[in-house]
Amino acid sequence: MIRTPLRPLARILDARSKGQNPDVIEKENLAARNDALRDTSRARAEKRLILLALCFFASFAVIGVRMGTLAASTPTEPRAAAGGSAITAQRADIVDRKGRILATNMLTYALYAQPRDLVDPAGTAMALAEIFPELNAKDLQRRFTDGRSFLWVRKVLSPEQKQRVHEIGDPGLYFGPREMRLYPNGTLAAHILGGTAFGTEGVSSAQVIGTAGLEAFQEARLSDPAQSSTPLTLSIDLTLQATMEEVLLTGMTTLHAKGAAAILMDVHTGEVLAMASLPDFDPNDRQGISATRDPSDNPLFNRAVQGVYELGSTFKIFAAAQVMELGLATPDTQIDTAKPFRVGRFPINEFDGHNYGPTKSLSDVIAVSSNIGAAHLGLMIGGERQKGFLKSLGLLDAPQIELTEARSARAMFQQPWNDVVTVTASYGHGVATSLLNLAAAYATLSNGGTKVTPTLLHSDHHVLGPRVVTEETSQAAVLMMRRVVTDGTATFANVPGYQVAGKTGTAEKPKKDGRGYDKEKVINTFASVFPASDPQYVLVVTLDEPVETAGPKPLRTAGYTAVPVAAAIIRRIGPLVGLRPLVEETTLAEINAPPKKPVAQE
């Protein structure tokens, strides 16, 4: 590049000779140089801008064309993608602890109609009413002809019904595929599983949602597409559940009870192995049950979890455990059982006016189930401490378990916790709690003293709960309960080989009008732990208004009702859970002796 001088000598000399200012020439030349520089840089910038614009145009054009093709073309599935993903189950199966199916899905069809396409609405309505007795031909015909363009006829069809609808052959009838929840075991574990219903319904599919029990509680897990192929494993054992329900039903029928419930729980993990509530229902057909006015008569009502009852003398062991825990007494300490007394205006009496003499050892108070003895224990402990202890056992809260119904089953007790409550609570009155809470509390008391939280889900890892009582107290409490079975109120529960330990409880139901208790209507409970030498399982059995009529006068105490039923259950499930019967030292005289009668009642 040739550099143009700013002050060309020739022009300067010329200007000087003419007397002009040579600086003007310099300025002129400088301006010219700047102009040239500006022109070149503008051209360069223009080029760059155009290039950039082209780039943007190209990329937007690519995106635009791609969007256009995607919008215009028909969608296809990526066929080359690796297959093998499960498409069938939209809701995960539920299986028991050994993998046996409790709930699964079945492909079925829903029937819907598009009345515009119907050739013969009247004839079709007649034919459909013939297939499905619950449909009304006239009503159906009216709905076919009132101008609507779409209507559901039936939510699920069996294959036979579908074939018969096919045979009607009307082009206005359509089938929509449905995945239906199926409980192959029928009424088995009905209260645990709960039930399902269709949520949002479409022509090609319908959403299945849990409406009660575990199905509702685990809705998120069961309907999670990522986990739909892995079944939800429960802690329930199908065999134990079936056995328990069978024995419980037999017991309920022979004792004329209007309801019954039982829970079998692992004392260490809190896993519920079986839980039954009778009367029960078929979760496949939940809709068929009408709600009655009294919830406790409704088959849908889960007595084991939802039922909040005063559980009677089964609570005495808690008072006994607490006095031992506080160091106030040992099993041999003599407790005053002399005579009925009053707390405020509230009289404390023995059941049926029994008299157990001036004093009894703590162990005997539990064995014969003395109310007065237990009341004295309550007074020894004091209200604050007693309430704290019952709370630490979980008895004063709603049961914690994976069922939606559990949340509403709050324990009931009088506020504030005054002396009357303290005294009555020590023998199980004035405090109403769920049966599941009782089972968990017994598990806590007998497993060495660590808190047990009941669960329905099977897991290999269990975290030990916080300590509630010491191991010594736990052992002493189990020994006391063992004495209840060997020499006390629950001798019918002495199943050879299983060292059953337990505590009976009979509670009269409050009268409907709220004035006092009804002597003829009782709730009998037997809470047991076995085997006593190394507690493994807790079994709680409760019967609602049972009466034993085999003898000369009707018997309504737990020793004659709940205890034999519990014994029958233990006899059946003992071998099933794989417990080896323990050989006990017996003498010939003991073998030949007739079975002992329960010594005294409550």
């Binding site: 066929r79 046996r100 492909l107 079936a242 069978e246 071998p575 080896r580």
Partner: protein, 124 residues
Amino acid sequence: MRPFLSILSFILVMTLAFWAYRENYATQTQLKDMAKVQNQIAALRDEIAMQKAEWAYLNRPTRLRDLAAMNFDRLGLMPMAALQLGAASDVAMPVAEPLLISGEVQADGALAPVLVGSEGAQIP
């Protein structure tokens, strides 16, 4: 040389085109086959789910209980009881038959007394 090269490249292009054409259709056939197989898999899965449900239904405890009651005598069943349980070590093992050695026994090499059989019969 130049015409030869162009003919060669033409042939090459035609061969490649033919190959690509065939590959294209082979791929499409494969995709169709795969779609068919996947549909089959889905159908089979449906059937398996159905069979499992059926199996669970047939094995429901109430039915098994009824069947057991029905065939109680014929099969000589016994109600399950605690007494039937025991440890594996309590089961008597079959008594081993002592070796039947008659006549002359010939042995080679050095002999040491060896315990044989459950009866403790020794071969000298």
